[in-house]
């Protein structure tokens, strides 16, 4: 079975719950309604042989609605095929169903998504933060979280401060110029290409 056939079977079985299918460089992505996500995952695992979950990740489409997207990378060891399943998650109902009972590896992946993006997973057996510590108040990979961080403190556990960015994140520019042109000390990401004064007087 090829990945296209697997995607076709899922589309044939779930019909309108599959809201989109894209192919890019031989990789197929299916967009699935959140209400059908678990059924699709059960079908993919039990009937199509996707026995390995490579990764669970999340995307923050800040400003769009629905804001978040949870991405599941499925792989079939038997057929050697890869399938990507995406499901939208809105900010108001920031919760997705867990798949940790299907693939045990999803346990920690979903904890990481919860820690970094703040998406909860219903029926997850142990939904705690995995990288940051219990009590840390933010979800740092959200687009509205500043790169320099925010101050916080959990006594006896950890604290955070605000990093000095000196005007912007460190961004390099593709140019033939000197190091000073290529890598000014700090620059706003939106300032590309570099200011003229750097180009004229390196």
């Amino acid at each position: 079975m090829t990945a296209a056939e697997a995607a076709g079977q899922i589309t044939a079985t779930f019909g309108t719950s599959i809201t989109g299918q894209k192919e890019f460089r031989g990789e197929i992505s299916l967009s699935v309604l959140k209400s059908s996500l678990r059924d699709v995952c059960v079908f993919a695992k039990d009937s199509l042989g996707f026995d390995y979950l490579i990764d669970v990740s999340s995307v923050d489409h800040f400003g769009d609605e629905p804001r978040f997207e949870v991405v599941y990378e499925l792989y079939s060891m038997k057929d050697g095929i890869h399938l990507r399943v995406k499901t939208p998650v809105s900010e108001d109902d920031c919760e997705a169903p867990t798949v940790s009972d299907l693939w045990a590896t999803a346990d920690w992946h979903e904890r990481e998504v919860f820690d970094m993006m703040g998406i909860r997973f219903a029926n997850h057996p142990d939904l705690r933060r995995i990288l940051m510590w219990d009590g840390y108040p933010y979800h740092p990979l959200r687009k509205d979280f500043p790169l320099e961080g925010k101050a916080s403190e959990v006594p006896e556990v950890a604290f955070t401060g605000v990093a000095p960015l000196a005007g912007g994140p460190f961004v390099t520019v593709p140019t033939d110029g000197t190091t000073q042109v290529r890598e000014p000390r700090a620059r706003h990401a939106g300032d590309l290409p570099p200011p003229v004064k750097f180009l004229e007087e390196p």
């Binding site: 940051m132 740092p140 979280f145 500043p146 961080g149 006896e156 604290f159 401060g161 990093a163 000095p164």
Partner: protein, 173 residues
């Protein structure tokens, strides 16, 4: 021996007797037998390992006794990125080290946060513990660490160890 020597010693003349100051003798002993606490947190730790291996040979400077217990060591080499999650653990281990103790911030991350201008990284270990020697580099070569160690030895040689150690007693008198 050169004129710089803290010890005026000539075996032909003086036999087993050495004339010196207590400070100088104590400092000489301390600076030539530093026991590092290797706080290896990132890639700088690889260079720290190289410095203690035979090619660079940190034992030439008397600092080869790496102890993984803070209670047996007197110089903490903070080698690597100190994340906020690790920061208080580093502080706790520093607090467990007995006096006198010194700290070397090895590399850009331990000195200032380095390239990690980030929500997750402490911007220099000197926010938490006093640093004696900063070593630049990302990561510094083992030679740089050895240079930092020699600078720490120079710094120790200039200390008033007896006065510092008996401060409470002297003030009471």
């Amino acid at each position: 021996m050169s004129d710089q020597s803290p010890v005026a010693y000539d075996s032909k003349i003086e036999g087993n007797i050495i004339f010196t100051q207590v400070d100088a003798a104590i400092n000489w002993m301390r600076s030539n037998s530093l026991w590092p606490m290797p706080m290896g947190l990132a890639c700088c730790a690889i260079e720290l390992m190289a410095a203690s291996s035979s090619r660079f040979d940190i034992s030439r400077f008397g600092a080869e006794v790496m102890r993984f217990s803070p209670r047996q060591s007197d110089v903490m080499i903070v080698a690597g990125t100190v994340t906020y999650k690790m920061a208080l653990a580093v502080k706790r281990i520093w607090d467990q080290m007995p006096e006198p103790k010194w700290c070397i911030a090895m590399g850009a991350c331990a000195s200032s946060g380095g390239m990690y201008r980030s929500y997750a990284v402490l911007q220099g270990i000197d926010h938490l513990i006093p640093v004696d020697v900063y070593i630049s580099g990302c990561p510094p070569r083992p030679e740089a660490l050895l240079d930092g160690l020699m600078r720490l030895q120079q710094k120790i040689m200039g200390e008033h160890s007896v006065v510092e150690q008996k401060k409470a007693l002297i003030e009471a008198l």
